[in-house]
């Protein structure tokens, strides 16, 4: 059995322990080691990418053996296109985050250990296929994030961290309870219950799961819906879906920049991943049942967050809300794809397009948003902590390279064709228009508002008369240029040649569509 996935997850875990054990006062060693471990993760992800068979929709690099048989728990890891994409994203963003935190000296050993553990948790979440271990990794992602915000964040970090913790915890508990209920329902007198995502998806497709749930819970007709809602809550908080998003602006703006990069770049994708991996295959019936309200939620997420972003004065908060907006498109596409789609010709193709769009959007947004936050961090460092929209003006005159590169990232976020942001959004709309036209129509408002505020950002910060305060603002140093360059290059590459990713995930998407179509 190929143990590459286990090793992939263990490396940052062990790395974190080693780094934490180094203690205070050896910051250079700490940083170096932490970067080293994250780069191993990157190398590993790249190896996996190259060895991945993109034409097959099957799970690859599988590891499966019994773990606690009487509890129905197997140690089950596997990678398909979706997982691979997410692993790749994590592997890319983490080293960036570490590099951004290079000058951080306060308890660096714990800081970097927490980041590494966060990475381990993320790797684990994206590769685990049995709820027992999956949930452990899910929580492993939560706790370091809480501490990262709480201990190294901005002035209002306390309440932000607490809010973050409570929301995510409540969601996690709801998720846990739902799965315990499923376990209970799938338990027979001789066999323990089922925690395996693949098996449960199979059961859901044949309608067996709903029957079992109803039997276990006193014939309650709506039990499937209740369980679905619990699981939904867990992921809805993570994405986040309006109205469960109120933790996000505070957390994103108070967290240190590297952490925000990770939060927006990867952790929010955990939510979407959860939808794709768990909710869609296991609860398609329930989603279909409440499709319209869900679509409304998606639309609300898109439009309301865009409007909120427009109203922001703090750059970080603006981009934070913009993140919510971008992920809203993913939600829209996912829900539309599950819909019954009667009377739509080539429904399967449309659905595939939509889901392709979702995955692309996940990756691209991860890339773009972390780049944007990185730029804001650089700006903040130069301005001594200021990051208000009105604080700047005419930056392009003193820092043209900075303006150019950040401009690319902004336009990518806007969805300019030629950059990576466009492809994802295009595919989403392409898929959703036939499947749920009205939703797609309203969602375009979001596109419009996004364009408005992003352009406003460019105008206020970069163009216009030079604010005398920043006359001496230094441009990007060489090191910083090398730091942002990979992301920028990728933005171009993926904008022009999305096949790089699509080729790998296509087969997975097709299989997913199969699962949710009945």
């Amino acid at each position: 059995m190929n143990h590459s996935l286990t090793i992939l997850t263990l490396v940052p875990l062990v790395g974190g322990i080693i780094v934490a054990g180094l203690g205070a006062g050896r910051n250079n060693l700490v940083r170096g080691l932490s970067l080293f471990f994250s780069l191993i993760g990157l190398t590993g992800a790249l190896c996996l990418w190259t060895h991945f068979n993109g034409t097959s929709g099957e799970l690859q690099f599988q590891e499966k053996f019994p773990w606690a048989p009487h509890l129905g728990v197997d140690y089950f890891l596997g990678l398909d296109g979706l997982g691979l994409l997410m692993v790749m994203l994590t592997a890319m963003v983490t080293p960036l985050a570490i590099l951004v935190s290079w000058s951080m000296n306060d308890r660096a050993h714990i800081y970097h250990a927490l980041i590494l553990w966060l990475q381990a948790g993320l790797f684990g979440t994206f590769t685990a296929l049995n709820f027992f271990h999956w949930f452990m990794f899910w929580e492993l992602g939560l706790i370091p994030a809480f501490f990262l915000i709480k201990l190294w964040g901005g002035p209002k970090r306390g309440p932000a961290a607490t809010q973050f913790f409570i929301y995510t915890m409540v969601g996690s508990v709801a998720l846990l309870l739902s799965f315990l209920a499923i376990w209970l329902a799938t338990k027979t007198a001789t066999e323990p219950g089922c925690f395996d995502f693949i098996t449960l998806a199979g059961m859901a497709k044949s309608g067996l799961l709903t029957t079992k749930l109803q039997t276990a819970f006193f014939g309650c007709k709506n039990i499937g819906l209740i369980i679905f809602f619990g699981a939904f809550l867990g992921f809805a908080v993570k994405v986040p879906v309006v109205p469960f998003h109120t933790w996000l602006p505070a957390a994103y703006s108070e967290a240190p920049s590297a952490v925000t990069m990770l939060l927006t770049g990867v952790m929010s994708k955990m939510g979407v991943y959860g939808f794709l991996r768990i909710l869609l295959p296991i609860f398609p019936e329930q989603i279909r049942h409440v499709l319209t309200p869900l679509l409304w939620l998606a639309v609300a997420t898109i439009v309301l967050s865009a409007c909120a972003a427009f109203a922001q004065r703090d750059l970080k908060r603006m981009i934070a809300y913009s993140s919510v907006n971008h992920l809203g498109y993913c939600l829209l596409a996912m829900f539309a794809a599950v819909g019954a789609a009667t009377g739509v010709k080539d429904a399967a193709i449309q659905k595939a397009a939509a889901l392709d769009g979702v995955m692309l959007q996940m990756f691209n947004h991860g890339l773009t948003a972390s780049a944007l936050f990185l730029f804001v961090a650089l700006l903040e460092k130069r301005s001594g902590g200021l990051r208000g929209l009105e604080d700047f003006g005419g930056i392009r005159k003193v820092a043209p390279v900075f303006t150019g590169l950040m401009g690319i990232a902004i336009f990518s976020s806007l969805g300019l064709p030629g950059l990576n942001g466009f492809v994802g959004e295009f595919l989403v709309f392409k898929g959703v228009f036939p499947l749920a036209p009205w939703a797609a129509a309203i969602a375009t408002i979001g596109l419009l508002v996004t364009a408005i505020f992003l352009l406003t950002l460019i105008q206020r910060v970069f163009c216009g008369p030079l604010n005398a305060r920043w006359a001496q603002l230094p441009d990007l140093t060489t090191a910083e240029r090398f730091l942002v360059l990979p992301s920028i290059i990728l933005m171009f590459v993926l904008g022009v040649w999305p096949q790089l990713i699509l080729g790998t995930i296509d087969a997975t998407v097709v299989k997913l569509v199969e699962k949710i179509t009945f």
Partner: protein, 506 residues
């Protein structure tokens, strides 16, 4: 080999008593050596026994005649449940000594009482003769009393006396039941017997079990912290020195639960079925009450003390389910909570209180302990999430099984128990926030930052070793629950528990 865990502990007591009066260092080393040896024997013996044969059946270690007139035998045996708890005792013993490394006052007496307590606990878990079990059970009361009364803190004499008296009363309730059962069994068997295996086969009349079962169960339950007889626990835990609290909450409360299972439920299965609902109700009340009261405490240690009551409620709930999965969960929770409670008390008592000399949240908030004692903060965080029942730690598997088992029998009470878990998250978070990671900037009353006036001493090596050991134990069992489940599960398929699990009738 397992019997030597008992003998070694008492030998340790003897050696300690012979040491000269002020030989603190020697005392610590002797104590640690004894505990490590005991734990080693426990682990090796347990693994050996488990591999030899069916771990579900009790394997005899020693069986010789003791008091023929009473039918009492010196009968030591172990099945899977005993093995799990013996291993727990071994680990907790070592951890307790490591966290008491700084005891300076009359060190050798402290460790003498400590080892005597450990020896007694080993004895209880290995006894299969009811009188022998009772002897070891009562034996533990005296060292407990002295440990708290002499080396404790808040209201130590009151706490110690309350604990001793409650324990004593509880064990005397058991004594009444035992004597009555002995007489009736003698009538049925034709000869006097105190052998647990023999007594488990005696069909006590239903009317007899109707009053004897609650008597014996409550008698043991008092030590397990059953609501409403739990009031000794928070007071006692707070009054006790760190190692005392660790052992009390970690191991001694499990003595009570073990007695409930091994004696009350095995000997009087019909009674257990009759009183099932009442026990579950008390257990759930304990869960919620303990959690709720923990939420509003000002004293850090009281939070942990009440949380122990809450967690033991889970054990009792698991016992009340009378189905395999619930009972599995109850035993696993005994192990899990033993480790976790030890860890929590270690942080509160040794790492925090011994340095700050205060346990009041209002004072701790201002001390910025998260920065000054990062190791303590991290340890408490890990212990806290383990205590909450986070998957990955032993508590999750245990509470999961208890809840599943309970759902099958008392769905509504299970939901209430779930509320208890949620409150558990709340009080843990509150304690974590207030003690370590509060947002209040550290300002002393006169406005100056007094940090560097009295720097807190760093966390010592014994503390680190102890903390890592306990965390590792909880993690290992959380990640690989089969290690212990393979020992626990077969027991409930054995003849000893057959009547209990088959609905009581035969």
């Amino acid at each position: 080999m397992l019997a030597w865990t008992i003998y070694i502990s008492f030998l340790g007591v003897l050696v300690l008593m012979l040491l000269p009066r002020d030989a603190a260092r020697a005392a610590r080393i002797v104590a640690l050596f004894t505990a490590v040896l005991g734990c080693g024997l426990a682990l090796v013996g347990a693994v050996q026994l488990a591999q030899q044969g069916n771990v579900g059946e009790a394997a005899t270690i020693v069986k010789t005649a003791w008091i023929p007139a009473l039918g009492a035998t010196y009968y030591l045996a172990a099945d899977g449940i005993s093995l799990v708890l013996v291993v727990l005792t071994g680990l907790a013993a070592i951890a307790g000594i490591l966290f008491s490394w700084n005891v300076e006052k009359r060190t050798k007496e402290f460790f003498a009482f400590y080892l005597a307590l450990i020896g007694g606990v080993y004895g209880v878990f290995l006894s299969f003769d009811v009188l022998l079990l009772f002897v070891f059970y009562e034996l533990t009361i005296i060292p407990k009393y002295f440990l708290i009364a002499r080396w404790g803190s808040t209201r130590k004499e009151y706490g110690a006396m309350k604990l001793a008296l409650y324990s004593f009363v509880g064990s005397h309730l058991v004594l009444i039941g035992l004597i009555a059962a002995w007489v009736v069994a003698r009538g049925q068997l034709g000869h006097a017997s105190l052998d647990l295996v023999e007594l488990s086969k005696v069909a006590f009349p239903a009317s007899f079990q109707h009053w004897v079962f609650p008597l014996v169960f409550i008698g043991f339950g008092i030590l397990a912290g059953i609501w409403p007889f739990h009031t000794w626990a928070p007071t006692g835990h707070v009054a006790a020195p760190t190692a005392g609290s660790m052992l009390l909450a970690g191991v001694v409360m499990k003595l009570g639960a073990y007695g409930c299972l091994r004696v009350a439920m095995v000997m009087f299965p019909e009674g257990a079925h009759e009183w099932q609902w009442a026990i579950a109700a008390l257990a759930v009340t304990g869960i919620i009450y303990g959690a709720g009261v923990a939420l509003v405490q000002r004293d850090f240690k009281f939070v942990i003390g009440y949380s122990s009551v809450s967690h033991m409620g889970f054990v009792l709930l698991g016992l009340a389910t009378l189905n395999t999965i619930g009972l599995d969960g109850a035993v696993l929770q005994m192990f899990s909570h033993g480790i976790i409670a030890g860890l929590l008390f270690a942080v509160v008592g040794r790492m925090v209180y011994d340095r700050t000399h205060t346990r009041d949240f209002n004072d701790l908030e201002k001390m910025n302990l998260g920065k000054l004692l990062p190791f303590a903060g991290v340890t408490f965080t890990i212990a806290g999430v383990a205590s909450m029942g986070l998957p990955g730690f032993s508590g999750f598997v245990a509470e999961f099984q208890v809840l599943i088992g309970a759902w099958q029998v008392f769905p509504k009470m299970t939901m209430l128990a779930g509320v208890g878990i949620v409150v558990g998250v709340a009080y843990t978070l509150r304690a974590l926030q207030k003690a370590f990671y509060s947002d209040t900037p550290p300002v002393a009353p006169d406005g100056h930052d007094h940090h560097d006036d009295h720097p807190l001493e760093p966390i010592s090596t014994p503390e680190r070793v102890g903390a890592v050991m306990l965390i590792a134990a909880s993690l290992v069992i959380g990640l690989f629950p089969t290690l212990l489940m393979d020992w626990i599960e077969p027991c409930f398929k054995s003849a000893l528990f057959a009547r209990l699990l088959n609905g009581g009738g035969q």
